[in-house]
C-alpha cells in the first residue's frame, strides 16, 4: 500500500457562503507538479488556501501524513506546507531584513538561515546580490515575487502552494524560474495559466463554474 503524503477528500468547498466545488478527491504520494487552472472567481485560490488552514469553510477532510490538518498546530503545518500568496508584500527596512525575519518565528528556529544558499538562489532567480540592501518599497512586482519564492525555498518546505508564481515576470525570466521550480523534488500546487506549468505538470486540474472539475493525469 502506498503511503499518502496528502489525502484530499472535500465534499463541499465554500468561498465565503458560496459553494464553489463538490466532491474533490486527490491523493498525493510523491513529488508531483499539480497545476490548477480555471476562470477567475472559480475558487482556485480558495482551494489552495484550504490546504494550509487559511480557509476552513469546507466539509470533508484533508490528511497530511495521515493526520487531519486540523490537528496540527497552524504554525507547524504552515511551515511545512508553505504558501506564496499573490502580490506578497515585503516588510522591513531592507530586503535582507524581510528574508531573515521569517527565521525569527519560533517554528523556524531549527532551520538556520543560510547566506550561501540565499546567494545561490538569487543567482538562479536572476537577481543581483545588491538587492538585499534595497528598500522593499523600491522593488518591482517581479522582484518582489522572486524574493517571496526564494523565502519559501529557504524555509525548505515539504509542500509548496504557489498562487500565480510567474504572473509578474517577463517571458525569459519566467522560463528559467518555472523550470527551476518544477524540478524541486517536493509536491507543488501551482495556480497558473502559463504554458510551462500547464504542459509540464503531472496532474492538471481544471476547476469549472458548475462546482465540478476535470482532472488530467499525464
Amino acid at each position: 500500500m502506498n503511503l499518502n503524503l496528502l489525502e484530499i477528500n472535500i465534499k463541499n468547498l465554500y468561498a465565503g457562503d458560496k459553494l464553489i466545488l463538490k466532491n474533490f478527491k486527490l491523493n498525493i504520494s510523491d513529488n508531483k507538479n499539480i497545476t490548477i487552472i480555471g476562470k477567475t472567481g472559480v475558487g482556485k485560490s480558495t482551494l489552495l488556501k484550504t490546504l494550509n488552514l487559511l480557509n476552513l469553510k469546507y466539509e470533508g477532510y484533508i490528511l497530511y501524513k495521515n493526520k487531519n490538518i486540523l490537528q496540527y498546530r497552524p504554525e507547524e503545518l504552515r511551515s511545512k506546507i508553505i504558501m506564496v500568496i499573490q502580490e506578497t508584500p515585503l516588510y522591513g527596512d531592507t530586503v535582507l531584513d524581510d528574508i531573515t525575519n521569517i527565521f525569527k518565528f519560533k517554528i523556524n528556529h531549527n532551520k538556520k538561515f543560510n547566506m550561501d544558499k540565499l546567494k545561490q538562489l538569487l543567482k538562479i532567480f536572476l537577481l543581483p546580490e545588491t538587492i538585499l540592501n534595497a528598500n522593499p518599497l523600491n522593488l518591482s512586482g517581479g522582484e518582489k515575487q522572486r524574493i517571496s519564492l526564494i523565502k519559501a525555498l529557504l524555509i525548505e518546505p515539504e509542500v509548496l502552494l504557489l498562487d500565480e508564481p510567474s504572473s509578474a515576470l517577463d517571458k525569459n525570466t519566467e522560463k528559467i524560474i518555472s523550470e527551476y521550480l518544477l524540478n524541486i523534488p517536493i509536491p507543488k500546487f501551482i495556480i497558473s495559466h502559463s504554458k510551462i506549468f500547464t504542459e509540464k505538470a503531472e496532474i492538471l486540474i481544471e476547476l469549472l463554474e458548475n462546482q465540478t472539475y476535470n482532472l488530467i493525469k499525464k
Binding site: N52, L54, E75, I85, F105, K106, I107, I155
Partner: protein, 254 residues
Amino acid sequence: MDIKIINLLFSFLLLLIPITIFIKYKIQLINTLIKSFSQMIIQLLIIAMIFQYLFLNKNIFYTIGWLILMLIFSILTLKKRLNIKKSFLWKIIAIALFTNSIIILPLAIFVFINPKTTFDARFTIPIYGMILGNSMNSLALGIERFNEILADNIKNYYNSICFGATVHEASLPILQKSMRASLLPRIINISSMGIITLPGMMTGQILAGASPFIAIKYQILIMVLIFSSVTLSSYIGLKLFIYKNFDKFYLPKT
C-alpha cells in the same frame, strides 16, 4: 481664597461674548452652550456634595464604592466611544482597566503618598480619576490604531502566518506600531510640562495655596503614575484584543 458666589455668577456675563458671536454669524450653538453649561453646573454640584460627604465621613467602604462607580462609568464611556463593533470589546476594556487599577492605585496611595488616614478619599479619588481617565484614552487610541493598522497591513499579516508565524509573531509589528501611536503623544507631553503646559492639578494646588515645591512633587508623582498606568492598560488591552480577535487558526474573526 474662596470665590464669592456673586462674583462667580457675574463671570457668566463673559459668556455674552460667544453668544453675541453666535447670534451675529448665525452659528447654531447657543442651545448647546446653555445646555452644556447647565449640565456642568449640576454635575459639579452633585460631585461636590458627594465629595464633601466622602471626605468628612472617611468611610473606607463608601470610598471604595465610589472608585468602583468611577471604573464602571469609564468602561461604559469607552465602550460607547470606540466604533469597533465587537461583542468581546467591553470585557477587554474592563479587564485592562481593572487590572491596571488594582496594581497602580494601592501602590500610589499606600507606598508613595502614604496619607495619615488610610484610604483618605481626599487623595484616593482625584488620583484614581487621573489614572483612569488617562488609561481610558490611551487604551481607546491603542485599540483603534491596532484595528486600523491591521486592516492596512492585512496582507502582511497573512504573509507572516503563511511562513509559520503564530498570531503573536504575526501581529507583533502591529502591536509595536499601535503602542507607539498611543504612547508617543504622552511622552512628548511629559517633556513639555511646566513651560508650555501647567497641568490642571498643579494649577489647582497652587491656587488653593500650596507651596509650588509641594505642587511639583505631586505633579511628578502623578506623571509617573499616569505613564505607567497608560502603558500597562494599553499593553493588557492590546494583548487581550489579539487573543480575542483571532481564531485558533490565527485568522481574524469576522
